[in-house]
Symmetry: C7
Subunit: 94 residues, 7 copies
């Protein structure tokens, strides 16, 4: 099953942050901050503005930083995704 | 009886999620989350922007993911539908 | 006396829903939901956008579904009407 | 003294509704609903949009229905008027 | 000292309403309503929209009605003025 | 050190109002109203609208009246400035 | 690892203000105000408006003043950055 986002929407998959505290302890679950990094899984065709499609800036497999709490969480075939508008993506991390 | 949505509106029919918990129990009624999947039943002609009709991205029989709580529920001939603006449809699921 | 709505406004007359409960009792008054079906009685000339009149999608005698609570109720010659913007009309029912 | 409204504004004079209850009693003062009918007294030149003046739809002496509570009440030479934007006028009654 | 308002702003000077009650008493101070009449003292060059200056509708010495509470009160050389956007001026009184 | 404001922003320096009460006492500190007069210190290049730069209406050394509480206070090299959008400047005082 | 901001976004790094109180004590930590100065680390390609990219006004290594509390804090490789829209940058400090 595949997801084709509409307009300027982007389907992303959160990347679990592997985070160590200063004492070297790896945090899990509720002790971790909500992740902000994600992998782009599918990209919409772009929004139509003034009769022209605005081309998208991100592409599949880009690693991105996105606004915490942005978008809608969906579950397809048991896997969790977030569908965000490209405007909620802050930056591409390379 | 048929429904012809206006502008960029879309008539959708919710798909009941058949969802199993990890223990294998099939959830029904209030225990299930409000569904987000739906089938497109009718599509409006598209919104007029700057004197041009913006063509619609979804078509009848598309299976779509839509924003929870979006749209207006209507009952026609005893059957329940939701009329949403296309902008509330997040993605097409294939 | 006739009503000529301005801009993209539409004058509609609510259709009383004849609704039976499962037990076959016909509900009246406060026990019924506020109706969403209406008949188009008069249609405005259309809104002016970018110097052009956007043509109206509904016409007199169309049976329409409209957003609950939308519009303004008016009473002309003892008869009750609702004046809504066409944007509050969800769909035409045929 | 005369009032020349600016832009798309319209000066209207409320028409007192002569309203009988079913028992035939004529209601006065606080027992009556706030009137919605008015007579157009003066019409502005129209709003400038995209460098063009959008022509007005109402004219002096039109009897109109307007949104309750819209506009600003003014008193000129002891007479009360309401100055509304044309967009707050719902329909012309003929 | 003179004030040159920017954009579509207008400098006005409130006209004190000389108001008699029905019994003939002239009201002063807190018993009077906040005045709505004013004299235009200075007019801005007009707002730039779509690369063109929209010409102003009011001119110096016009007597105008303006929205109660609109604008900003300023005191220049001990004299009180109100700087409003032309959009807050309802009508010219002649 | 110099400050170059972006877009339609303007850097202003508040002018301390020398204000006497009717009894002739010069007010200082907390007893005075927050000043509304300021001197223009730096002017941005202007906002880009529809692909064109809208030219600025104020220039360095203009004495201006600005909306109380508008803008952001900044401290550069120990001196206090306010950065406002030109739209928050009401008028030039000459 | 590098961050490429999208649209009109800018990645900035806060500059720690070295601030002395009048008594000469250097304040640290919670006693200091939240800094408003920052260094530009990466600049997006610019926003698309009316089919054209609006060129950016800031460039890498500019020292800027930005609105307190604007933007989103991100942590990449243990270093803290703020991603702001260029519109939240008030001025360039030279």
């Amino acid at each position: 099953m595949s997801i084709k986002p509409l307009g300027s929407r982007v389907v992303i998959k959160r990347l679990e942050a592997e985070e160590k505290t200063k004492s070297g302890i790896v945090l899990t679950g509720a002790a971790k901050e909500r992740p902000q990094e994600a992998l782009v899984v599918a990209v919409g065709p772009g929004e139509v503005l003034d009769g022209k499609v605005v081309p998208m800036e991100v592409k599949v497999d880009d690693k991105v930083l996105y606004s915490k709490y942005a978008g809608t969480e969906v579950k397809v075939d048991g896997e969790e995704f977030v569908i965000v508008k490209q405007d909620d993506i802050l930056a591409i991390v390379e």
